[in-house]
Amino acid sequence: MTVSLYNPGEEQKSILVFLEHEGGVLANVSLELLGKGREMADGLHWSLAGLLMGHQVADLAHEAIAYGADEVWLGEHPLLQFFTIEAYAHTAFQAVSDGKPSVFLLGATPNGRDLAGRLAVRLRTGLNADCSGLRIDPDSGVLVSEVSGFGGGVLALIEMRTHRPQMATVRPGVFTPSEMDRNKNGKVIEIPLVLEEDMIQTQVVEREVGSGIDLTRTPVLVAGGRGIEGDFLMLQKLADLLGGDVGATRPPVDEGHIERQRQIGQTGVVCSPEVAICCGISGAFHFVVGIEKANTVIAINSDPEAPIFDYADYCIVGDVHQIIPEIITALRSEGEIAHA
C-alpha cells in the first residue's frame, strides 16, 4: 500500500480551507468552503483553519475569521503575489505537514485544482475531485465526498480511510457562506517560509483578471442555447428587467457568441437561482446538471419533445423570438404601472 506522509493517528482534528483571493477580495468559493467547514467542524467540535497565501494579504486573514475560521495560517511573501504552482505548492505543503489537518478543502477552480493535484501526490494522499457534497462521519472522522460523473448522470460517494489529509476540491456554488461576524475571535499564525526565486520555474508574463462574471449567485438565470441563434442581447434585456444574469449552453460559447465564463453545466458553472429560464435549449444532461439547484425552471423550446421539458416546472412550446419579447413588454408595462 502507498503510505501518506501522516496517518489518521497523527492527524489534528481540524479542517483546513484553501483561501483564494483576487484583487484583495476572498473568492466566493473560499467563503462557501468556510461556511461548510464551520458547519462540519461545529458538529464534531473540530477546529476550522484557513490557508492564506499572498503578498500583503494580512487583512484578508481577519475577513476569513469573520467568515468562520478559528485560525488562519498565513504565508506572506513577495514571491506569493501571483499564483505560481511552485511557490504555492511549496508553502501549502509546509503548512499541511506542520499542521496535519484531518481534512483539506479547496475550490475546484483553475488554481485550486492545480494546487490540489500537486499536493495530493506530494503528500501521497487521495483527492476527491469536484465534489458536490461533503459529510464527515462523526464516529470515524472519515470525510465522505459526493462526486458526479458522466455529465452528472452518476453519483458516487468516495472516502479514504487510511490516508491523511483527506483532500477534496469542491465545485463553486454548492455551499453557502456563513453570516459574517466581525466580532468573532481567531488567531493568525504565520507560516515560517523559505522561498527563493530559483525555486520558481513559472514566469507570469502577462495577467489580466477582470471583474469576474459570477453566475453562481445570480437570483435569476436567463440561459440560451442553439435555438436563440446568438441573440443574447434579447436575453440580456430580460435578465436586466428581472435583476438576473445571462448564461449559455456550450454551443453558443464555442461559436463565440458569449464568454466562456457564462457556460452552464458540467464543465461550466453550477447555478442556484430562484428562477432559471432556459431559452432554445434542448436539455443535454451536461447542461441540466448546472440548473438542477434552481428553485423554479422555465423552459421555452419550439420542439415539444425536447428533453429540457423533463427538467422544467413550466414548459412553453413555442418560438423564443416571439415569446421573450412578449415577456419583456409585459415586464416593462408592469414596471410602468408600479411606478405610476
Partner: protein
C-alpha cells in the same frame, strides 16, 4: 535542440449518454455501451499535432486500459500521431488519481526524452481534472494548465501558454519539459487521414507495456496505490419538476410567467 517529442495522455471512456449503473451491484454497466477517446483529450491531441505541423517532431499517444482499447487509440495514428503506447496490466485496475498519475508518469519515464506531455482538461467519466497537475508532480516538472494556445520558443527551450482564468487570462512561460492541459473545445480536432488509415489500423500497431515493463512499484499502482474508495455508486436522482405546460398566445404566456415571477422572486 533535437526534435520535439510530445506525449498525449488519453483515456478511453464509455460514451456519457449511454452509461447506466446496475442498481444491484452498484457497478457501471459497460456491456453494449460504446466507447471513445475522451472528447477533451482530442483537443489535447489536436494541440500536439498542430505543434508538430509547425515545428516538426513526433507525437506519441499514451493510455492506460485493457487491450480492447487498442482500436480506439489507433484512430489517433490516422490523425497524425506517430506511436501509441497502451499501459495494460491487471495490476493497474482500480487506480484512482494518485495511482493513475504514477502509472502514466512511469510510462513517460520509460519513453525517455519527452519535452511536452499533453492532457485533456478532464475526463468525461470521472471529471476530476486533477491528472495533469499530479503527473507533473510525479515527473518533477513544470506545468501549464487550461491552455487555449501554446507557443514554443525552442531556442530558449520554453513553452509559453495562454491560460484561461475566471474573468480573465494569464500568459505563462515554463521551461521544458512541461505538462500541459488543454481547455476543452478550444480547437477543432482534425479528421482521420484516409491515406494513412490502413497503416494506422494494422494489427500490432499499438505497443503494450505491463507493470513489469514500467518497473512500477507495486505499492503505487492499481488498488494498492489508490487511497480513495468508492463506497457507493448510483444514478443521480433527478429533482422532480412540475412539468406543467403553459398554453396560449405569446402575450397570455407572458402574463402567466409574470405570475410565476411574482410568486418566486423576492421583491
Amino acid at each position: 535542440m533535437p526534435d520535439l517529442h510530445m506525449v498525449v495522455c488519453v483515456k478511453v471512456v464509455p460514451k456519457s449518454e449511454e452509461i447506466r449503473v446496475d442498481p444491484e451491484t452498484m457497478h457501471l454497466i459497460r456491456e453494449g455501451v460504446r466507447s471513445e477517446i475522451n472528447p477533451p483529450d482530442m483537443n489535447a491531441l489536436e494541440m500536439a499535432l498542430d505543434l508538430k505541423d509547425r515545428h516538426g517532431g513526433r507525437v506519441s499517444l499514451l493510455s492506460m486500459g485493457p487491450p480492447p482499447f487498442e482500436t480506439y487509440l489507433q484512430a489517433a495514428l490516422a490523425m497524425g500521431a506517430d506511436h501509441v503506447y497502451l499501459l495494460s496490466d491487471r495490476a493497474f485496475a482500480g487506480a484512482d488519481t494518485l495511482a493513475t498519475t504514477y502509472t502514466l508518469a512511469q510510462g513517460i519515464r520509460k519513453l525517455g526524452d519527452v519535452d511536452i506531455v499533453f492532457c485533456g482538461e478532464e475526463s468525461a467519466d470521472g471529471a476530476t481534472g486533477q491528472v495533469p497537475s499530479g503527473l507533473a508532480e510525479w515527473l518533477n516538472v513544470g506545468q501549464l494548465t487550461l491552455l487555449t494556445n501554446i507557443e514554443m520558443d525552442l531556442k530558449r527551450g520554453v513553452a509559453r501558454g495562454h491560460r484561461e482564468l475566471k474573468g480573465g487570462y494569464e500568459i505563462l512561460e515554463v521551461p521544458l519539459p512541461v505538462v500541459v492541459s488543454v481547455t476543452t473545445a478550444c480547437n477543432e480536432p482534425r479528421f482521420m487521414d484516409y491515406r494513412i488509415k490502413p497503416w494506422a489500423f494494422e494489427a500490432g500497431r499499438v505497443t503494450v507495456w505491463t507493470a513489469g515493463d514500467l518497473d512500477a512499484d507495486e505499492n503505487h499502482i492499481g488498488f494498492n496505490g489508490s487511497p480513495t474508495v468508492v463506497s457507493s455508486l448510483a444514478e443521480a436522482p433527478s429533482r422532480e419538476r412540475k412539468k406543467q405546460f403553459l398554453e396560449g398566445s405569446p402575450a397570455e404566456i407572458a402574463q402567466l410567467l409574470l405570475n410565476v415571477f411574482r410568486e418566486d422572486l423576492p421583491q
